[in-house]
């Protein structure tokens, strides 16, 4: 059994009425904001910096450092990224539906610490219930005095707008998200400037933080940075939400202490994943969203630690782990991931727009048994044109990281399952059973 870490962001989500103001106030809600308002903004920021809170969106950039880079101009913005779209990632969706007040409170703390008076929560458009819950919470927070001209009776004023997206994976990329929030197509912006903290929304300095990141703030301010860094290890402090899916007995999200838990624990522990469905063998797993290179059984004992996973040649990314069992066709899985990137490429950069289509087509014909042996080298060559060298972390030929994410799955399959690719060619078809719905 895995030792139960304190629940930082999921303390109330199991309660039936977890999303209401009454329940939020009855479980310590808005106390973190009250405490923050009694401190100087710089002290709030310093506390978060000490907590070593890494961004929970995928890139893992320290939140405190992001704030400190904010250009000090009269108009600044805070945008909370709730456009969760990385395949197999479903933690922010849960937080938005189950604890929207925690997001509002965290947003208010972040805004106060960075001297922002106008914040936006960009919520993925497909989360209809989530949008309703967030707007309801926002309305209730105003009525309670936790937002508005005098937040909790202080001299600080803050407005939050709940902004709906409209369906585009790329809008999770922070500069695309800002373009979208400006009412345009979600095209990532050319870098430099690298950070919206310098040039962001409407050209003004902007902090962009993930939903789970800001959800940690009320706890950090209430309990202090030391209590947060006592959890996890080194720079991977605190807990993190992991989204487990694929061929496991208990798919779901789990709040887990960073570093102290391994992938084996997450997948096999009865209190977590509960093992592979039907007692089958593990073939491979994706450790951090479909942009991440795959791992095999040899990596099961790695800790859920940003640095350790990085050193092993992949990334913890968005914290989503996809499990593939012995019946999973790796070629089909990689093809579907390639198809996703092809559909979601915004089309600005040639290597990504054209390369993703080539890769999708080649992988599809391989899976269908219509491929040639040289297709394996051809698809790797196409990958190399998007990200020269096929190294990790990937080299970039495009405006954003969507393009260089495409090769991850393909290179993984070519490295780990080249024989399976050859069998597809030799037998003129897929040797694996079709993916079937589980019944009963």
């Amino acid at each position: 059994m895995i030792a139960q870490a304190p629940r930082i962001v999921t303390s109330r989500v199991a309660l039936e009425d977890s999303f209401t103001l009454q329940r939020y106030l009855a479980t310590g809600g808005y106390e973190g904001l009250r405490k923050a308002l009694s401190m100087a903004p710089a002290d709030v920021a310093a506390e978060v910096n000490k907590a070593s809170l890494l961004g929970r969106g995928g890139a893992g950039f320290p939140a405190g450092r992001k704030w400190s880079m904010l250009r000090q101009t009269p108009t600044r913005y805070l945008v909370v990224n709730g456009d969760e779209s990385e395949p197999a990632t479903f933690k922010d969706h849960m937080l938005i539906e189950r604890d929207p007040h925690q997001i509002i409170e965290g947003t208010a703390i972040a805004a106060y610490a960075t001297g922002v008076e106008q914040a936006f929560i960009y919520c993925r458009g497909e989360f209809a219930l989530g949008l309703e819950r967030l707007q309801q919470a926002c309305n209730e927070a105003y009525a309670h005095g936790a937002l508005g001209r005098a937040v909790l009776g202080s001299g600080y004023g803050l407005d939050i707008v709940i902004h709906p997206g409209a369906g585009a994976y790329i809008c999770g990329e922070e500069t695309a998200l800002l373009e979208s929030l400006e009412g345009k197509r979600g095209f990532p912006r050319i870098k430099p400037p690298f950070f919206p903290a310098a040039v962001g929304l409407y050209g003004e300095p902007t902090v962009v933080n993930n939903v789970e990141t800001v959800s940690n703030l009320p706890w950090i301010i209430t309990h202090g940075a030391a209590a947060f860094t006592a959890l996890g290890e080194g720079s991977s402090a605190g807990t993190r939400l992991f989204a487990l899916s694929g061929r496991v007995e208990h798919p779901g999200w789990f709040e887990i202490e960073m570093s102290k838990t391994t992938f084996r624990d997450l997948i096999y522990d009865p209190s977590l994943g509960g093992g592979i469905r039907g007692g089958k063998q593990l073939r491979a797993f994706i450790p951090g969203g479909v942009s991440a290179p795959w791992f095999g059984p040899a990596q099961l004992d790695l800790g859920l630690d940003q640095d350790a996973v990085g050193r092993a040649g992949s990334m913890l990314g968005s914290g989503s782990v996809v499990v593939m069992d012995e019946d999973t066709c790796p070629v089909r899985a990689a093809w579907r991931i390639a198809q996703f990137f092809h559909r979601e490429s915004c089309g600005q950069c040639t290597p990504c727009r054209e390369g993703s289509g080539w890769i999708e087509k080649i992988m599809h014909r391989l899976e269908q048994g219509l491929g040639r042996e040289k297709d394996i080298d051809l698809v790797l060559d196409a990958c190399d044109n998007i990200s020269p060298g096929l190294s990790w972390p990937p080299r970039q030929t495009t405006i954003c990281v969507l393009g260089p994410s495409i090769p991850s799955a393909i290179v993984s399959v070519a490295k780990m399952f080249r024989d399976d690719m050859l069998v597809h060619v030799k037998e003129g078809g897929c040797p694996f059973p079709p993916d079937a719905v589980r019944r009963g």
Binding site: E126, Q135, G157, A166, K184, E344
Partner: protein, 223 residues
């Protein structure tokens, strides 16, 4: 001749006033127009352009980037069947193939009676209930072929009318409070936003749905 109803026109102006720059309201206004018509008509796009200060072509050019904005008519219920990796491993293609056969249409098409449109979706962030399906952006799952047929039947009969509002209606909770947008607050600009009235729609409740977010979660239930 305005296309938006007087009620929706007032809502549109309140939405524009929430933002420091009107153009930011473009996508929320597209959702508003879809809540009225089910899809995004040319007339609506013209009026949105007028409201946010851009050309109708810019509204269309933006809208066509986004999967949820339909510039052609769709059915009263839009099925979005996720087939991305987690759902695929849980048999999503079996569900999608069954949906095509059962509804008698292919992905991208609408049934002759205008009841259902079938779409294949990318990951909808509900992998713990894979294979998952959205109807008008409300979640259902895990679904097997029989479950899909039951769902279609429940939708057709109106039994799910409270849970699944009409196509195009996204959030049934409106912003009832709020400060005017920052730009209007500092009142220095000669902008087109309706200044002091911004964002004030006290106690506005929608009539077309259950009107509150207090309905039980239809999404993933926590472990």
């Amino acid at each position: 001749m305005p296309h938006l109803s007087p009620d929706n026109r007032a809502k549109a102006e309140a939405i524009v006033a929430c933002y420091p720059r009107p153009r930011s309201a473009l996508i929320p206004l597209c959702h508003l127009a879809q809540s009225q018509d089910g899809w995004l008509t040319c007339e609506a796009m013209k009026e949105i352009a007028d409201l946010v200060g851009c050309t109708p072509a810019e509204v269309r050019g933006t809208a066509t980037f986004y999967d949820m904005l339909h510039t052609e008519p769709v059915g009263r219920h839009v099925f979005s069947v996720c087939t991305n990796i987690a759902c695929m491993l849980a048999g999503a293609y079996e569900v999608l193939d069954h949906a095509e056969a059962s509804l008698g249409i292919s992905v991208g098409q609408t049934t002759a009676d205008g009841e259902f449109t079938l779409e294949e979706a990318e990951c909808l962030a509900a992998c713990d209930i894979a294979p998952c399906v959205q109807v008008n952006h409300r979640f259902f799952g895990p679904l097997d072929p029989d479950g899909f047929d039951q769902l279609a039947e429940d939708l057709r009969s109106g039994r799910l009318a409270d849970t699944v509002p009409a196509q195009g209606i996204l959030s049934r909770v409106e912003r009832s409070v709020g400060l005017p947008a920052l730009a209007a607050r500092s009142s220095a600009s000669g902008g087109s936003g309706p200044g002091s009235a911004g964002g004030k729609k006290p106690g506005a409740a929608r009539g077309s749905g259950p009107g509150s977010a207090s309905s039980p979660a239809t999404g993933p239930v926590p472990a």
